[in-house]
């Protein structure tokens, strides 16, 4: 009897040992264990291997932990990298987990992590908006949009982000214009096409705001101002020795731009008839178009408001 008990005990121990060993070899547990110890490279290696298993790819939990591991890598080493691959891998993994795993807790966790990472995307998109990195800013904002919609499909909330971003984008283009004034005329000539492209991009950015918010005063005013300034610059940049036919061509182009500017400033004026900058813009355009009666009228309104 004693002998049988001893044998049974040994069998039980072997069984426990095999279960423990099987548990230790479960790659997901191994990956989690590495993650908990902070061995992110090892965790990444194991989880990347795991998603090559056809069964594991159907497991939302595997994708969730993959997302978590990549998010940790992003936080540890790639936080300053606006094009971080780990952040993208993390977002893709959380998205995949969200699509597979419908349990309440996992959905909430996935959404929380996506929200965190999209926030970093939005911040990076905004801080990329300068004269050098603005294209990266636009690409990053598109990524933000794609993932933000997973956690908040409300168009109204996204609209606010979109307007702020477009406003910033438009002002970047405008700043590039402004900086261009200091450039030598021969470079200006070479940059002519680039400037026309930037004008179009800025106008597009503000036009999108108008679609989202049809009474956005600053968008109307900014488009009007961009056209006006672009036109005025065509004259400002001319050399005194410019011949008359070239001067006439410049006047034609300038006045076309002034005409394009007018409806936007008129609309901005309708939205807010007391805004000094809009009144000054209208006074300037009509003056430049040699329509002095209208120009004087806006000057009169402007003076009245300034007296108050």
């Amino acid at each position: 009897m004693k002998h049988v008990v001893k044998k049974l005990g040994m069998i039980l121990m072997l069984l426990i040992a095999s279960v423990v060993s099987a548990q230790e070899e479960d790659p997901l547990r191994v990956a989690i264990s590495h993650l908990q110890k902070g061995s992110l490279d090892s965790a990444k290696m194991v989880i990347d291997q795991l998603i090559t298993d056809p069964q594991a790819v159907k497991d939302g939990n595997v994708w969730y932990y993959r997302g978590f591991i990549y998010k940790s890598i992003y936080n540890k080493w790639e936080k300053k990298d606006k094009q971080s691959n780990s952040r993208m891998e993390a977002l893709k993994a959380f998205k995949q987990s969200l699509a597979i795993d419908t349990t309440k807790v996992t959905i909430a966790e996935n959404r929380k992590n996506i929200k965190y990472l999209t926030t970093t995307l939005y911040n990076d998109a905004c801080t990329s908006l300068d004269s050098i990195d603005y294209k990266l800013g636009i690409e990053t904002f598109e990524l933000f949009k794609e993932y933000y919609m997973l956690i908040d499909s409300s168009q109204e909330n996204f609209k606010q982000y979109n307007i702020k971003f477009l406003q910033a984008l438009g002002s970047v283009y405008a700043k590039i214009f402004e900086d261009d004034k200091a450039v030598k005329s021969e470079i200006k000539e070479a940059n002519k096409n680039k400037k026309a492209e930037l004008l179009k991009l800025a106008v597009d950015a503000y036009s999108k705001i108008i679609i989202l918010d049809p009474n956005n005063n600053s968008a109307y005013y900014n488009i009007g101002t961009l056209y006006y300034e672009h036109g005025a610059n065509l004259i400002r940049q001319l050399d005194y020795g410019t011949d008359i036919p070239t001067l006439n061509d410049a006047q034609d182009n300038t006045f076309t731009l002034y005409r394009q500017s007018l409806p936007y400033l008129e609309k901005a004026y309708k939205i807010d008839p007391t805004r000094i900058q809009t009144l000054y813009g209208l006074y300037s355009i009509y003056y430049s178009l040699n329509e002095l009666e209208k120009s004087n009228e806006f000057k009169r309104i402007l003076d009245e408001i300034e007296k108050k």
Binding site: T127, Y221, E229, A232, T242, I244, L247, Q277
Partner: protein, 171 residues
């Protein structure tokens, strides 16, 4: 691990350039005036000393623009000099520009300069038929010039046919 979204430091309203609209119009006129010095020929005796442009009337923006031009351009070997003068001034000018507010003084200016070689420029409709050589006009919102060839030649000045062709001719 909550991260705050940046408040964008974007420019909500773009500002208009520092230049006033008067400056753009003044620039156009300055370019025209410089062209006149290339297309009109003054007698030999006028080709020494400074090339003087006299302004009758008050328009600081225009005078500043012409002064800017004078710092970077010459007429042949002659330096440009911009002077604010009175209609009865004895200053020998190559060009006299009578601003619109002073248009009534055209006859006086013509009388004072009848024996000189001075191009008289005005800035009011109809004055090219009343003695001005060149008159600035606005046509289809654009700055153009009316030119009266005989009024220019009366002052012993030669005008190039290419300038005549570029202008609205008035007789």
């Amino acid at each position: 691990m909550k991260k705050q979204i940046y408040i964008l430091l974007s420019i909500v309203f773009i500002t208009l350039g520092a230049d006033r609209p008067e400056e753009t119009n003044a620039k156009i006129k300055a370019i025209y005036i410089y062209n006149f010095t290339k297309y009109i020929e003054w007698p030999e005796s006028y080709r020494q000393g400074n090339f003087v442009i006299g302004i009758i009337g008050s328009n600081n923006t225009l005078i500043n623009e012409l002064n800017k031009m004078a710092t970077v351009k010459t007429v042949g070997n002659q330096h440009l000099e911009i002077k604010n003068i009175s209609p009865t001034s004895d200053v020998g000018c190559h060009i006299i520009y009578l601003l619109s507010d002073n248009s009534m003084q055209l006859a006086e200016v013509m009388e004072k300069n009848k024996n000189k070689s001075t191009l008289i420029i005005t800035d009011k409709a109809g004055l090219a038929t009343k003695g001005a050589g060149i008159n600035f006009v606005v046509q289809e919102n654009k700055q153009k010039i009316e030119l009266n060839k005989s009024n220019i030649e009366r002052y012993k000045l030669k005008v190039a046919s290419s300038l005549v062709e570029l202008a609205i001719q008035v007789k």
